[in-house]
Structures are given as structure tokens and as C-alpha cells.
């Protein structure tokens, strides 16, 4: 019997659905399966996955790693002293190396000089509160959580000036927290279009 949603359902209401309802449920179900399949499929065939190498790390230990990284690959001037930009050390790691980047109220350390089409393992962590890694202008985003090392295998596929905009609220200086990555084209070949970052 026809009734509205605010009237009690009488008798046996466990009846077969209308044909149109069945059609829609079947189509919606099939679409849901497509939605589900796309994610594992992109892990196999796609070039952008947020998997990374994940580990716990004490903030102080991570800071030490950043310092070692700067000592190893830091850019030095004619006198042999570390080049600083706005007080932040500039680092030029070789392709294939582990790169460490730390968020701290309200700066990203260090400044990175990378090569186009080279792969790096970019370790992200925070010294204090949550920060957000947003790559300007290409809109790539990762969460930066204190106590956790997020090691992402990154291949810059465009050259030029990039910024790291903090996009997780981290206190009153949040809007000033901007870092810099410079990518130079050294003529490395582009990674294969399939699974380039795997």
C-alpha cells in the first residue's frame, strides 16, 4: 500500500523492488566497483601515489638528520662557508639521494636545488606541530606530522622556481611559512610515463 516515509510501514514490506530501482542500484554498484578498482590500478600503472617509506622518528633525531644532510650536500661559497638564504641553508643533493625537509614554526629547512627528472627520496617531518606540504604552483600536498618520517620518492618533472606553502594551521605565523625548491634542467631523460615513481 502506498504510504509516506513518516507513516508506520504496515504488514510485510519486504517486497521486490521496482525494475527502475533495480536498474539504478545495479548501475550504481558497478560504478562503485570502478571507483574502488581505480586506486589499486593507479598504484600499478600511475605515477602519483602517497605511499612512501613511513617510519616513526623523534623530532630531535629528525633535526639531526637534517643537519647531517646540510653538512653533506650544503652549497658553499668561495670561502667554504654554507650559503644561507633568509637564514636557511641551501642544499644541492645529487640525484638518487635521500633528501630531508623539516617544517618548524614558521619555516621550511633547507632550501633545495634539485635536478629535473631525477628521483629523490624526500623525507618530510615536523619539529613541533602539524604542518602541511603544498608545492606551489603544481598543487601537490602532503601532511607533515611530528614524530613521523614520510619518505616520498619524488621526481620533479618540471623545472623552475617552486614554493612550499604550509597549508596546515600551525599558529599565528602560519601564513608566513614558505619554503623554496629550485629545479634545474640538466638534460636528464624524462621518466617513463608508466610507473615512473615506483
Amino acid at each position: 500500500m502506498h504510504h509516506t516515509g513518516f507513516e508506520s510501514a504496515q504488514g510485510v514490506w519486504w517486497k521486490p523492488a521496482h525494475k527502475s530501482e533495480k536498474i539504478w542500484v545495479a548501475i550504481a554498484f558497478a560504478w562503485c566497483m570502478v571507483l574502488f578498482a581505480m586506486m589499486p590500478l593507479w598504484h600499478l600503472r600511475g605515477g602519483q601515489n602517497p605511499s612512501g617509506i613511513r617510519a616513526r622518528v623523534e623530532p630531535v633525531a629528525f633535526q639531526d638528520r637534517v643537519n647531517e644532510f646540510v653538512a653533506e650536500y650544503g652549497v658553499t661559497d668561495a670561502n667554504g662557508s654554507q650559503v644561507l638564504e633568509n637564514g636557511i641553508p641551501v642544499v644541492q643533493p645529487p640525484p638518487g639521494s635521500d633528501v630531508y625537509m623539516m617544517g618548524r614554526m614558521w619555516a621550511w629547512t633547507p632550501v633545495l636545488f634539485l635536478e629535473k627528472n631525477a628521483q629523490y627520496t624526500l623525507h618530510l617531518s615536523s619539529f613541533d606541530v602539524n604542518h602541511g606540504f603544498n608545492l606551489y604552483p603544481f598543487n601537490v600536498n602532503f601532511q607533515v606530522v611530528p614524530g613521523y618520517d614520510y619518505g616520498l620518492r619524488v621526481t620533479p618533472t618540471q623545472e623552475g622556481e617552486f614554493r612550499i606553502v604550509c597549508n596546515e594551521f600551525c599558529g599565528i605565523g602560519h601564513h608566513l611559512m614558505i619554503g623554496r625548491i629550485f629545479v634545474e634542467d640538466t638534460g636528464l631523460p624524462a621518466p617513463g610515463s608508466e610507473g615512473g615513481a615506483q
Partner: protein, 580 residues
Amino acid sequence: MTGDGGVVGRWAHRICPTTGLKVHTQADRLIRAHAVVATVSLLIGGIAAILVLLTRWQAVHLLDAVWFYRILTVHGMNMLIFFIIFFEMAILIFAGPVLLNCRVPAVKTTWAGFGLMVVGMLMVEWMMWTGQADVLFTSYVPLRAEPPFYLGVILFAVGALITTAVFMATLVVAKREKTYEGSVPLVTYGGITAAIIAIITLVHGAAIYIPTFLWSIGVMNVDPQIYRLVWWGLGHSSQQINVAAMVAVWYMLGGLTVGAVVLNEKVSRTAFVLYIGFISMASAHHLLVDPGFGPAWKIWNTSYFMYMAVLASMVHGFTVPAGMEMGMRLRGFTQGLFGWLRKAPWGDPGFSALVFSVTVFGFVGGITGVTFGTEQINIIAHNTLRIPGHFHATVVSGTAMAFMGVTYYVIPLIFRKRIAFFKLAKIQPYLFAGGMLVFSMAMTFAGTFGVPRRHWDVTFQGAAYTVEYSPAVDLLLAITAIGGLIAALGGGIYILVTVVSVFFGKPLPAGREAEFADSIPQGLLSQPWAQIPKTEEEPESPWKIGPVPGTMVLVFIFLAAFITYYFANWKLLSFAWKVG
């Protein structure tokens, strides 16, 4: 109280002259109290919304940084926690005692729950306004607020749990006292769904805010990643209470405004069960680009067990309009594919609110949400303006719009008052949902450029490096602000209409609805639900695709939009740096 009331059995009640239901006087009072506090929260959150808007509109940039984040915290807490949950408690008291023709089983306990919620809310407001909780809605540890902030949230959650438990007790009492025949109405079933999700949610709230409170007074540690995991069990799941409650209200408003029928109880109820089973996994939507979880965990959880909760919403997105079409066709509006829509009562604010709620929730909120909640696509969405663009379409023009629409019926039915400024009320849904639609779309597009959410100054004045977004972003942020201000005007009208109607409104004498056609929604005059033929016969359809051809066309348009947007985002993602 008007109506033929009395003390029959053990409880004081009145008989609703429109529906014939017995309404417990205490249910009336409880609904009123919850609705009043909900409206106060809406007013505070709405004023905060205007201030936030006028700051993010870079040309105006009203507040300084300190007050921007403070007011943003106020906006989030009042809208997403206080307004929504107070309103949902009112819905539970309506869907339980009122619709089941039953008394409120534990009156004092329910009032105690209400009292705890109010005390908790006042503590949180005090902390926020005095600058002792500048931690935003999410209060991610180790950002720290003063202890009373966390304690306030805990008290609020416990109060809401008590009211939810009383709702559950109502189901038992109503069954035992045989106050209704057959199975509970579908709307109540949706209410039960919301209540179960509320319990899951509030338990998560307790599980995270109690340790965080202890952390704030220095007696234990809280891991920032675990915090994010459990907190979102509260933060996202509370939006799933909204979804379930909103869908229940859709069925309610459909019946009230156009005599919508339930096409098939089995299908609609199964969809609600899918919500209960899987929707709470959505905490993962916020953790897709976090370091603490692996791909298998992310895929499994973000997809709510292979998108079963999305399937549920797609089912409701069909059955709600289909029920409306069927109801209209059964009452003789059989012309063509969309004759039923053309002849629908567009001047009834309950109806227009319903239509906006369903379409904006589905087309904007739903499609963007599922797309951004895809593990990899989240890389180009996380923490950008795409996220608030998405959830304003769901929570504001979806849930809040539906709740506002049902208020235009609750005022005459529960409060027995005529609607004040009814002409304004008629245009209110158009302003509110229309403004929010513009707001959400402009904000989502701005987010596509990578513009961060929760950010005081996206021109980055005084920062070490320059960042300059495309000029399109300026335009989009201005459109966002203008859309938001139109919606705020709609929200203001809602508050004006409800407050004046409830506190200073003229009474609606029983049985004299026809005399007040200019101040009550159309559905109460025509009572379409009473004109549905009580048969099994289906309306004739000129089309081969069943009795609801118009809805079939609409849902296929929806599916086409969904597929287009979803794959466009994969394409966009493929342009990003290689990362894995």
C-alpha cells in the same frame, strides 16, 4: 498548548490536529529547548562566517591574523558541533516520541543531557572567545588549548550521548506499549541510523578528548598521528550523523510537501543499514596523505568497504526524488517526463529547501567528496580550498538546508504558530542554497590552483618568498565571498523568521489552516500525503522505463556529471610530479 490535550495514561499530551498524533508536552518542550540553542549557535556561527568571509576576500581582509584564526575556530565549533548536534537531538526527539505516538521515557534524564550539552557549549565558547583555544575546529595535538576547552567538548558529547540513549529507550517503550502498528516509519528508521552513528561518533569523541584533556593538564602523552586518526572518527563521522538525519528529513519533507511515497521500504532501509555498517570508516578521508598509514589501509577505509556507503547515498538520491515523482503522479500530475516537477509547489519553502538540499548535496558535495576522498586524487586536494568547498555543499546547502526546510513545518506543527514574514521565508531557500552553491563552486575552483584552506593571507605579505596565484584566484575568492554573503543573508532570514514566529508569532488555531494560507507552508493546506490512494496500483507511465521516468533521466545526468568530474581529476593528477 492548543489542541485537545489531556492527561491520558500517565503523561500529559496534546493531540496534533493535523496528523492526529499524540504529542507529549515534554517532547514539545524538549524540542523547543534544543531548537532554540541550535538557533543561537547558528547565529554565533553565522556572524563568525561573515567575518571569515570578509577576511578571505583579499580586497577586504577585515580581521587581523589572531582574530581570523580565533573566529574561524568559533565558526567551526558552532556550526559543525553545536548547531548541528542540538538540531539533531531535536530531530531524535521528534522521530522517536512524536512520530511513534509515544511519551519521552526519561524526561529528567533527557533534560540533564540537554543541561550538560549547554554547559559544555558555554565552556567551549568562553575558551574560544577569550583566546584560550586558538586551535581551530580540529585542535590537532600538539597545538594546545586550555584544559576547560577539552572538558567542555567532553561534557557536550556526554550530554548528547544521554539524549541519544533516551531515543533508543523510546524505541523499546513504544514497542512495548504498542503505540504504533507495523514497523517504525522510514523517517524514524533514518533517525535510528543517525542515532547509532551518533553513538559511534560520540564514543570516538570521548576516546580522543579525554586523553587530550589529560595531556593538556600534563599527565599523559598523545601521539599526533593517533590523534588525527581518532579525532576524525569524531570529526568526519559527526558529518555522517548529518547525512543520515538529512536523508530522514528528505523523506519527511517529501511526504509533507508533495505526498512522496516510499517506493520500496526494503531498498531504502537497506541503504540506511549500509550507512551504519560502513560510513564511519570515513576518518580515512583526512589521512590519505598522512605518514602513519599504508596504501592498503587507506584504500580499504577511504572507500568505505568498496564504496558501500556511496552506494547507499546513490540509492537515496534515487529513491527520494522517485518517491516524490510517484507521489505526484499518483495524485494526477502525470504529464510528460517532468510535469510533476513543473507542477510542484516551488513557493513552499519546505519543498524548495528539499530540492536544493538533494541536488546540491548530490551534484556538488557528493561528487567532489568521493573524488577528493580517492587515495591518490587527495594529493591534489588535501588542505586546499577544495575541501571546504566540498563540505559546505554537503553540510550547509545539504544538511542545514534540509533542517531549515523542515523547520517551516515544525513551527506550525509543533509550536502551533504561523510563520512570520512568510514571503521572506519563501525566498529563503533560494538565497541560502543558491548563495552556498556559488560559494562552494567558486571555492572548489580556487582550491584547484592550490590555494590553502584555513589561511589568513594568500598574498603572503611579509613572507620570505613570494607566491602569486593566478589572477583568477582573486576573482574566485571574491565570488566565494559574495556567494557566502548571499547565503548568510538567507541564514539571517531563517533566524529572523524562526525567532519571531516562535516567540512573537501568532497562534495557528486547529482546523483553521485554510484561513492562514499566506503564513503557513502549502503542504499543510493541501495535505498531499492524505490524498495518496491507499492501494498498490501504480500510476500509468507513458515511458517504458517504469513509473518514475523523470527521476531516471535525472539520475543519469547525475551519473554523467560524476564520471566526468572523477576522471577529469585523474587526468589533472597525472600532470603532477612523479611521487610514490
